[in-house]
């Protein structure tokens, strides 16, 4: 049974490997890729049903007991992250199979996506902090290659910024790891949690706090938090739209996931300043929407919105009540789906109108109202309208701030929601509503109409998340409670020894 936990790593690895072997046969490779992600998605559902049943699943890889070996752990947070990652990768691969752009044909694309998926699932499942670093690197490496796959000038430019800043943050992470190991002598996160709780009790928290701050800086760079977000809007709009959607869905969310683990498990108590995290979250929200308001390029607006949405999640993490953590988790899931869908819709629309610059677009509503409706569903969800997923997510975050009586945070969250609506409406008016500046432009979808399938699938998930908000939020609430009380996690990992 414990082999179930290794499957989310093995399945992408195997499909990537066979994808490499089949690199000269595009069709075979596509089927391998699709089969791989379908199996992964199925495993995601099985995993979450088991975790709902048993709360924690652990596997000691190679039979080496914790804290000496590498432990794989799945709690509800990990299972939810794996499920949503599977959903977005499935839709993105479906989308890229139906596109005629060169990205879908590059023999490296499918194996790289699966390696990225492997790195992400490894990061979600590992209970070992050095393993987390390794999984981060696997994921980053594939994302570097995906970003530069087409080798265009702007991709090279974007990749320079992206690569340099992310490698810098990885080096900081590694330095923090070295210092932490020197102090606590363990790499198992549950074990570290026990030791640092002891250190908090003894008021000897200094060296651990230093390592924690290094981790914090590194994860904030990866999550795209203020003031470390500059690489994100400079690079996310340059690769092809499916790759953008994938990045927005997975990369920053893995950074946020690591931040949750750091804040709740590795450094419990007040080791990381709660006010620091809260202020950074609010600043991230506001800077993100203001940045988006000044942009006139579809995917650049969306990139800035990734930042502002990260702000909401960080606020949830900072407040750290079960409700706030649950809303952060729900927000991550909602954001993976609606943000990814917006990137896919933007890619589809810009393929048809021929540009991503707002002043050169238009006429999509008359030509393709179906796409307009799908766009509106995702955009309203992002802005937080009922009955869509964004409403549940934002409402619960706002409710958490009210519960903790953080009025200024609540005001910032509501204000950010309004500004999000402004940017979404800007894209709506410019791309869909107004006439195309070139009246002779052919706006027929042609073969592109097949690509409506994956985006409508995602739109369906958004509505489902919104309408099923109550029961689904209960699951997130259970996950939040698991995070607030790490004793269960520690027991599950170290149980055989203590």
């Amino acid at each position: 049974m414990s082999n179930l936990l290794t499957l989310p790593l093995l399945v992408p690895l195997i499909s990537a490997t066979f994808g490499i072997l089949a690199r000269q046969h595009a069709n075979v490779q596509r089927w391998i890729s699709l089969a791989g992600i379908s199996v992964y998605l199925a495993i995601g559902f099985i995993l979450i049903s088991h975790v709902l049943d048993q709360s924690y699943l652990t596997a000691q890889v190679g039979g080496w007991q914790a804290p000496y070996g590498i432990t794989l752990v799945a709690d509800l947070l990990s299972a939810i992250m794996i499920l949503f990652t599977g959903l977005i990768v499935f839709s993105v691969l479906l989308y890229s199979l139906m596109t005629s752009k060169p990205c879908g044909f590059s023999p490296a694309f499918h194996p790289l996506v699966h390696f990225l998926l492997m790195g992400a699932s490894g990061a979600f499942l590992t209970g070992d902090i050095f393993n987390l670093y390794v999984c981060f690197e696997i994921m980053l490496m594939s994302s570097f290659a995906l970003m530069t796959l087409e080798g265009k000038a702007e991709q090279t430019e974007g990749a320079v910024k992206y690569v340099v800043l992310n490698l810098l943050s990885s080096a900081i992470f590694l330095a923090g790891l070295g210092l932490l190991y020197a102090k606590v002598g363990s790499l198992n996160m549950a074990d570290i949690s026990v030791i640092s709780q002891q250190a908090v009790a003894d008021e000897k928290v200094g060296p651990i706090r230093l390592a924690g701050l290094l981790f914090f800086v590194s994860f904030s760079v990866k999550a795209g938090m203020f003031p470390f977000f500059f690489w994100l809007p400079a690079s996310y709009h340059t690769p092809s739209p499916p790759v953008s959607a994938l990045f927005s869905g997975i990369l920053t969310k893995v950074g946020v996931y690591a931040l949750i683990r750091l804040h709740t498990l590795v450094m419990p108590g007040e080791v990381l300043g709660y006010k620091l995290l809260l202020t950074m979250g609010v600043a991230t929200m506001l800077i993100g929407v203001f940045g988006a308001a000044s942009q006139m390029h579809i995917r650049r607006i969306l990139s800035f919105h990734i930042i502002s949405q990260i702000g909401y999640i960080v606020v949830g993490i900072a407040i750290k009540t079960p409700l706030a953590l649950a809303s952060a988790i729900f927000f991550i899931g909602h954001n993976i789906i609606s943000k990814g869908n917006l990137f896919l819709v933007a890619g589809l629309a810009s393929d048809i109108v021929g540009s991503e610059k707002l002043h050169k677009t238009g006429g999509m509503w008359k030509a393709w109202p179906q796409l307009g409706i799908i766009y509106l569903i995702s955009a309203f969800s992002l802005a937080g309208f009922p009955p869509l997923s964004g409403f549940v997510a934002k409402f619960s975050i706002v409710w958490a701030t009210v519960e903790s009586q953080l009025w200024w945070v609540m005001a910032a969250a509501i204000f950010t929601g309004l500004f999000t609506l402004y940017s979404m409406m800007k894209i709506w008016v410019e791309v869909f509503w107004k006439d195309h500046p070139d009246p002779d432009r052919d706006l027929t979808l042609g073969k592109n109409s097949r690509r409506l399938m994956p985006v409508s699938l995602l739109a369906g998930i958004i509505i489902f998340l919104g309408l099923g908000g109550g029961p689904l939020f209960d699951i997130c609430l259970r996950a939040g409670e698991q995070l607030v009380n790490p004793a269960g996690y520690i027991q599950a990992v170290l149980g055989e020894i203590t």
């Binding site: 000038a153 090279t156 490698l167 590694l174 330095a175 070295g178 020197a182 002043h359």
Partner: protein
């Protein structure tokens, strides 16, 4: 010994940061590589420099001799070196690609993905 090594690591970090702040991409790539190596040294020293025998229990004994080194940091460094090798290879290729596509490797001129689009002017910027 630890003190000397700490100073060496500090100097390595200083050089890495100096290189990272330079204008040419190649220098930045070298800076990142140096940063990775200084971090490896940091892990090495952080575990302590005592001990001078391999951490393998000899025949006939039941436990490790006290002078055995901690093997884990070395395993960590080995992993980090392997990852660093791959990342360094990729960054060099990226720097090469940058020169090939853009014709220069001056960081100050790589700003096209950061600039705002002018909504009024219909002229595209050079790279779009």
């Amino acid at each position: 010994m630890e003190i000397i090594m700490s100073i060496v690591i500090g100097v390595c970090y200083a050089c890495a940061v100096f290189l990272l702040l330079q204008k040419r991409l190649l220098q930045i790539v070298l800076g990142i590589a140096l940063l990775g190596h200084s971090t490896n040294l940091l892990i090495f020293v952080a575990s302590g420099l005592h001990g001078n025998s391999v951490p393998i229990i000899q025949n006939g004994l039941k436990e490790l001799p006290l002078i055995a080194v901690d093997p884990l940091p070395q395993a960590l460094i080995l992993t980090a070196i392997v990852i660093g090798l791959a990342l360094f290879g990729f960054s060099l290729a990226l720097a090469y690609r940058c020169v090939a596509v853009l014709g220069h490797d001056d960081i100050d001129q790589i700003t096209h993905t950061d600039t705002l689009d002018d909504p009024i002017s219909k002229v595209d910027s050079k790279v779009s």
